[in-house]
Symmetry: C2
Subunit: 314 residues, 2 copies
């Protein structure tokens, strides 16, 4: 069972890019040729088909450029069971294309309930006496709000099945300051730093050959100053960097999440890639070209930013 | 559109009980007569049928005793799409029985993504130009980790559709101390108190005729001392109290979450009710009797504990 961190870092080397495309379906933003491909199908079939079709077109366009895709499950849940059917279809298609599949679900709960989520996404569920994989993705984002014990079932699944997690440490939204930036009485440090130390500590159980852990962290591209400090506190954690592009995060912000070995982070963009077409009536080939170009531009911006940040950091 | 807090409190009055039964499917714990009812159906159909059948039997046994049921979505997700199909079936059946449906999902995310979750569970999604309800439950548990802005889409959905949320404030697990009990430098108070103030503040937008808000809080029955303090800080919030029974929470712990008007809390038990049969080969009628008796016992214990706690509090 190959370590997740090794699988992800190998894929980044192979594709020459730490950039990840987010597959966040919003039917109202999709091109006409995708939406109209549903013809006169009944609604449930139409939803599944349109979302699945959109994701297939995106994956085919960017497959050689990215090591992984990130599926934000909220955008599938908002379409109910047909949306979740498309979620399952997309996971399979992405895996068939050799991509690593990250699910942004920010799940967590207590004890056996956290275990049920870990089973659902990373491990296996005992069903009528047989142990079976369910969504079986490579990695999931999890919330640390319920404490260290709530993370344990996920960490165990990472060890047992060669999977990974990204623990929320500092999210990309303005309101992340409400709780995550609060300073703790015991240390004077913001909560995000305390969480970064916990991630580093939990991660020592699942270190791969590259020296990185399968237990990573989420740190938004929108807070470069905090990112630099958090990067230092968890040197072996791979950081998933959201917030690039549409949310205002810059390449410099993202670059702050890399280590001096130019590794240790994956940068996600969703809207600014998959909805970068300017006209709803874009042709299929123009749509693929546009999202391909957006992905290449992002890759160049991020990679170009890494060394300059390293100079500052050294 | 009737306010959620009013709907819940009216149902509590009508049923004479603030106790809620948790529908957390674990096939390996279900009675033989339920598991074997799948005959030789294909796995997906069997999972949907067995879980749905189990929940129907439980709901029919306790329907006149409880105002609401709570579905822990992790236990459905662990069975994949057939599990989620049973989740949808169960929501419909519970609503048809006149029960309030609370989903324990501990969801949240940033901005438009939080909006997608709010659409999925409480509001509506625009699909091919039509606004449609999706899971359409009465209430969902949400995480405050991402800050106040992440709660806004849920609060807006509560206002618009007569729905409710319970925001995590102090969870019932031992590890809840890791983050939630940490004292803040600015006030010397634990984080849970800061969150309770935020819940109280957010809740003022959706107060019903009983004087309670549709924006409630989760406070575990396992921490009675903290519960008493948190109760005072958010007097208009309805508290969802998990952890009763199998997790070690007592009636006294639960009673600490009530106000002096004997309102303001709903107490959930899952395992200690729905898996309270001692033998897998229990008969259908004995199974219904056992879970009915467990529900009645819990109701008596909780109701008996409320006045004694109030005497202490006064």
């Amino acid at each position: 069972m190959k370590n997740y961190a090794d699988r992800l870092l190998s894929a980044i080397d192979r594709k020459g890019s730490p950039c990840v495309v987010g597959l966040d379906p919003r039917i109202e933003l999709m091109p006409d040729f995708i939406v109209n491909s549903r013809e006169d199908w009944p609604p449930a079939d139409a939803i599944r088909h349109v979302i699945g079709n959109f994701n297939r077109v995106v994956i085919e366009a960017v497959n050689d450029l990215v090591p992984a895709v990130k599926l934000q499950i909220a955008f599938y849940e908002q379409y109910g069971l047909p949306g979740l059917q498309a979620f399952v279809d997309t996971i399979q298609f992405a895996k068939d294309c050799g991509l690593i599949v990250i699910v942004d679900a920010k799940r967590n709960d207590i004890s056996s309930t956290a275990g049920a989520y870990a089973n659902a996404f990373l491990g296996r569920t005992n069903i009528f006496g047989q142990s079976q994989p369910i969504f079986d993705v490579d990695c999931i984002t999890v919330s640390p709000f319920l404490g260290r014990d709530s993370l344990m079932p996920f960490i165990e699944a990472c060890s047992a099945y060669g999977k990974g997690v990204f623990v929320l440490v500092k999210t990309s939204n303005p309101g992340s300051s409400d709780l995550q930036d609060q300073k703790l009485a015991k240390s004077g440090d913001p909560i995000s730093k305390d969480l970064a130390r916990m991630v580093a500590n939990c991660g020592t159980a699942v270190i791969g050959e590259f020296g990185y852990s399968s237990i990573g962290a989420v740190v938004g591209a929108t807070f470069p100053h905090e990112a630099k400090e958090l990067r230092v506190l968890m040197p072996q954690a791979i950081i998933l960097v959201p917030g690039y592009g549409a949310q205002g995060g810059t390449a410099e912000g993202a670059a702050a999440c890399f280590n001096t070995d130019r590794r240790g982070a994956v940068v996600n963009a969703s809207r600014s890639i998959i909805y970068s077409h300017e006209r709803q009536d874009v042709s299929p080939s123009d749509f693929s070209s546009v999202i391909r170009r957006s992905t290449q531009n992002m890759k160049k911006e991020v990679i170009d930013a890494i060394p300059s940040m390293m100079t500052v950091a050294q």
